[in-house]
């Protein structure tokens, strides 16, 4: 007899006139790994919030192991044995790693005080499990790198010894070897009866780990099926509800006389960027790759004027380019603009309207005698909304009401409005659904074809290889390798990311996934 870890019956939720989820019924068998797929806006995040008890559905019921879930906060679901590893990191930066691990349920001594000695011992065990054995449990969580934080977040999920573990985009910032380790932990835990809900945009991961998949689209459950019973293409079609012809737009070979737009020579900054030199030409998409936290972010922020340079020089169209800050980088004759890594904290003013967010960086032109020209604002933002096919009810609605993919489009529109000479795009497709990803890929290629230079940072190797004309791989703040043409393949990118050959991390190329 099979036991259902999760049973949803007729679950529906509306936000005003928008139906986020309608009549979803789903059984998830205990001891299986169940993937939930869906574009942004498909209702995935609403479903997660309902499962974790943060949000109450308008209709329907949720049972965890045959017990009805009260939707009065995360504690209710936790009591029934559900732990969540959130995509938006839920760590408290000023508390230590061990305090974070046991934030809600610390080991206690007889009198109800927190047992610090046991907490230390137990945290060592969980840190070892996820590969953070070299992190001291007393370190402040805020001092960890993004990858380490993500691993800690995962350890925190396991440390609650749940019956159901919900992983929401938990691998978004993990390099390949950590993903492998995570999958091994999941496989082990599954054998001991753990039920895993796995939410990811990475199709290859889902194919490796999930027993069954459910596809959501427009708030409805389209189909639930055993993972390997459907092909990659079929799943994509189910997700998008439309045919996806190819993943990446075609590249055009760059003319040999294409002028250099941005040239960097011997650039160093903070302690993360060390003696970096490269040039990017008109019409080129230059990939910036490597493991997370190897100085990519700091390099790009330095070019944008957000971080002061310590040494080296940068030229734009052959002229010295030393912006005193982002405002100066944008204000130039030939603007340099940056799409930040974290759209919610570094990009958007979440409570402000879609239109105001879009027009935030627009230079001059839109105001007269210091007063905003509302007619021009409406026209220009309207153009962008149409051009990028942003799905919105009204441009006056707060930008926080949009799905992740549409929020990212609003940010891209902000850049496009200034027609920059150089686009610095930091992980533009992070946490975005397949359909929107394709649109963004096509847009980036189109920008390059129209004569912009694009710096494209991503942690996804497939993107790096499929999207970029040339790739610089960084390790420890320096460029380890430049790859293009035939040499631009997964094995080379991986090797360069790991700084050539570290014996313990060599992987058999035959086992690696070949990009389609």
């Amino acid at each position: 007899m099979t036991v259902n870890a999760i049973r949803l019956r007729g679950v529906g939720k509306s936000y005003g006139p928008t139906r986020a989820l309608s009549d979803v019924s789903l059984d998830i068998e205990a001891g299986t790994v169940h993937a939930i797929l869906g574009e942004n806006g498909a209702g995935k995040s609403t479903l997660i919030k309902i499962l974790t008890g943060v949000l109450a559905p308008d209709t329907g019921t949720v049972d965890l192991f045959d017990e009805r879930l009260d939707h009065d906060g995360p504690q209710a679901a936790e009591r029934l044995g559900l732990a969540t590893v959130f995509q938006e990191l839920s760590l408290v930066p000023h508390l230590s790693v061990e305090d974070n691990l046991f934030l809600s349920k610390p080991p206690r001594s007889k009198f109800g005080w927190i047992d610090l000695r046991r907490q230390r011992a137990e945290s060592r065990r969980w840190l070892d499990l996820v590969g953070l054995g070299d992190v001291h449990p007393g370190t402040h969580a805020g001092q960890l790198s993004l990858t380490q934080k993500q691993l800690l977040e995962i350890a925190k999920g396991f440390a609650r010894t749940p019956r159901i573990l919900l992983l929401d985009e938990a691998t978004a910032s993990l390099p390949g070897n950590d993903v492998d380790r995570l999958f091994k932990i999941i496989a082990d835990a599954r054998r001991e009866g753990l039920t895993v809900i796995y939410i990811s945009h990475r199709m290859s991961e889902i194919e490796r780990i999930a027993d069954r998949c459910s596809v959501l689209r427009n708030g409805q459950l389209i189909e639930t099926f055993p993972t390997h019973s459907r092909s990659h293409d079929e799943i994509c079609r189910m997700l998008a509800g439309r045919e996806i012809s190819q993943v990446f737009p075609p590249r055009h070979s760059l003319p040999t006389d294409a002028p250099v737009v941005l040239s960097v020579s011997g650039l160093s900054a903070v302690d993360k960027v060390k003696d970096i030199s490269f040039a990017v030409r008109r019409g080129e998409v230059l990939g910036i790759g490597g493991l997370e936290g190897q100085g990519q972010k700091e390099l790009l922020q330095t070019l944008y004027g957000a971080i002061r340079t310590a040494a080296g020089s940068v030229t734009l169209d052959g002229k010295p380019f030393n912006p005193t800050g982002p405002a100066a980088a944008i204000a130039g004759e030939r603007p340099v603009m940056l799409l930040p890594e974290d759209r919610k904290t570094e990009g958007l003013l979440l409570a402000e309207s879609i239109r105001d967010n879009m027009l935030l960086s627009v230079r001059g032109r839109l105001s007269r005698y210091g007063l905003r020209n509302q007619v021009a604002e409406v026209v220009r933002s309207g153009d962008m909304i149409r051009k990028l096919a942003i799905k919105i009810a009204s441009p006056e609605a707060p930008v926080s009401s949009l799905s992740g993919g549409n929020q990212q489009k609003v940010l891209l529109a902000r850049l496009l409005l200034n027609e920059p000479a150089v686009y610095i795009l930091m992980d533009p497709t992070r946490g975005i659904d397949v359909g929107t990803k394709q649109e963004i890929y096509a847009l980036i290629r189109d920008l390059a074809d129209r004569g912009a230079a694009v710096l494209f940072l991503t942690t996804d190797f497939e993107e790096l290889i499929g999207m970029c004309d040339r790739v610089l791989v960084l390790y420890g703040g320096a460029i380890t390798r430049e790859l293009q043409g035939e040499a631009l393949n997964e094995v080379n990118v991986m090797e360069a990311s790991l700084n050539m050959t570290r014996p313990e991390t060599i992987r058999n190329p035959a086992e690696m996934e070949i990009p389609t």
Binding site: S90, H94, L103
Partner: protein, 321 residues
Amino acid sequence: MKILTSRHMPVLLGAMVFVIVLAVYLAVHPRGISSFVIQSYANSAAPLALAALAQTFPVLTGGLDLSVGGMVALTNALASELVHGSPLEIASGVLIVLSVGALCGALNGALIVYGRLQPIIGTLATGAVFSGLALFIRPFPGGEVDAGFAYAMTSILFGFLPVSTLMIAIIAACTWAAISRASLGRGIFAAGSAPQAARLSGLRIERSIIAAYVLSGLFSALAGLYLGFQTLSGDATIGAPYTINSIAAIVIGGLSLRGGAGSPLSAIFGAYALRAIGAVLLFTGAPPLAQPLFEGMVLVTAVAAASIALVRDPNRLRAYQ
């Protein structure tokens, strides 16, 4: 050494400021170093140290308590009514005074958590209410605080260890040990550091925020009580300066007003340093009426100095955090 990393630096700086200021104080003191000088200095700084400790807890949650002065005034007025007579009456009087302080704090916490008021606005309003109540209880300075008990609390042991300092050290150490070993206390830090993350993790930070304001009320009551020991009477206007000075003290001691991290030592070092600064100004002939001016300037300087790291940060995005 690992301990010298940035998170311990602020409190070490606070300790340094304290040591330097104390040295200057003792050097310029017209009567030189004596047991009596130490005793009177320590006792005059004690209420401020208690008020600064009170302020520490709300600040750790990312809030601020502008009713500290009001609570000091109210509890001081109350002490002048209740803390005298038989030993039993004194004991119950002390208990009532402390309970009223805690109750005032609970009211602040409830307004902030359940009333969704911003801490600054909520406590500004309740602070006015508490000051008003204090005036109602004691319209004119007067009343009585048991002299024998007060003498014991303001005396000095072995000629160098003031009872007040010893008491404050013990109370602060016990409170801190409890805070760092209780979920409730962990929530105080989490509330100031990443409230959303803490909530998602299933921590009930609302309770922690209320607890922080209750502790603030309790320590304010200790300050009000101690002022009673010093003056042997009550005065409804004596509490007012403690709001601004408690904030100045913790900032001088190196506590970040952004919340999330810090140590009670900041409050203690800062309070004793601030008192010594005031006394030095007095010795050097600054007019007493100019004291608030100087205290305000000290506060501005201390806050600016605490932010100096931001100005030097090569990452321009962090310039105004």
